[in-house]
Symmetry: C2
Subunit: 206 residues, 2 copies
């Protein structure tokens, strides 16, 4: 089982046909992983599900890991967009408590979107450095947005807004993740969302 034998794909997809192939492979990987788990995510099965031959798969992905990394990148890039949209939409609004509530709900939505895939990508699958860096970037981006909101809000009396922003993002990320994937004390979603929002609000002294 040669691994990481090649670092870049043999070919970059240039025609529309091959770009569709690359998409199909990623989509197939997402489905196979979400439905059958990491162990069942063999390259042959992914290729079969995508309707392409195994040889084609290896034209565009240098090794198995690179498929996972591409999936994580796609997933987190979309997630960043969705959360940041909320950040931007609400930044001018001065009501911090409402901002926190929307942030919490956005995180809940993110994790609820494709929970199966999410679980495999971030719990079950190994995290090569590339995908780990991706996850770090994701959280840094969110923390940065949160920090500027905190800094400019007159309601916040906290000096170290940078640390506070990181704590808020980490807490929201971790708890919503656990709630969606494993449940938390059998709480209904609304109740959980309220409680987490309250926790964050009290942390900020609201």
């Amino acid at each position: 089982m040669p691994r990481k034998s090649r670092l870049s794909p043999r070919k970059q997809a240039v025609q529309a046909r091959s770009r569709a192939t690359v998409d199909a492979i990623l989509e197939a990987a997402a489905q196979v992983l979400a439905r059958r788990g990491y162990a069942a995510g063999t390259t042959n099965r992914i290729a079969a599900r995508a309707g392409v031959s195994i040889g084609t798969l290896y034209e565009y992905f240098p090794n198995k890991d690179s498929i996972l990394v591409a999936l994580v990148e796609r997933h987190l890039s979309r997630s960043t967009d969705r959360v940041l949209e909320i950040a931007v939409r609400l930044a001018p609004d001065a009501d911090l408590r409402r901002y926190l509530r929307r942030f919490v709900n956005a995180m809940l939505d993110l994790h609820s979107d494709q929970p199966g895939l999410h679980r495999v990508l971030f719990e079950e699958a190994p995290h090569p450095p590339e995908s780990h860096a991706c996850a770090l970037r994701f959280e840094e981006t969110l923390a940065h947005a949160m920090e500027s909101v905190l800094r400019e809000s007159p309601e916040v009396a906290i000096a170290d807004t940078d640390t506070a922003a990181h704590f808020i993002v980490q807490t929201a990320e971790a708890l919503t993740h656990r709630f969606v994937l494993h449940g938390l004390h059998q709480l209904p979603r609304k109740r959980f969302s309220d409680e987490l929002t309250a926790l964050l609000a009290r942390y900020l002294g609201l």
Copy 2:
């Protein structure tokens, strides 16, 4: 690669010699996993490191997964003891803030103890139902202890102490885990511990 072909070991260790063998295998597994990661944790390598033959390993463990499960059980059982010791020692003490501080530090110690092994067991390795159940029991136990402390403390004005206890345990668990394994905004430990304690205290209205 037959998997899960057998559900119980061929033999239970009854003599002292074989009990030592079982221990050696678990210890070897812990070392191999901590040092080389999950992928390198092959049964043959574990047996070699333990100084026993692969045949012996399969006398006492029905399959590879069962070794991981046994490791998780051992790890969490010890962890439970250590945290509960603190809970018991401090329960009579009425100063909740100090209790939270000790709790946070205990969780930090737990995660700092064998971070390599911890990372592999709870992030990298797959979680079969048995080990997942173990983790759930661990958190339920902690939450239960925390709940009784909250309920009996005159400082706490919160009605739903059960939910609050679960939130505190989950938050402390998740954040200390992330801090120890991945760092958090490059905060030094003392600073992190203070901030997390403050977050939990404010959540309780202290």
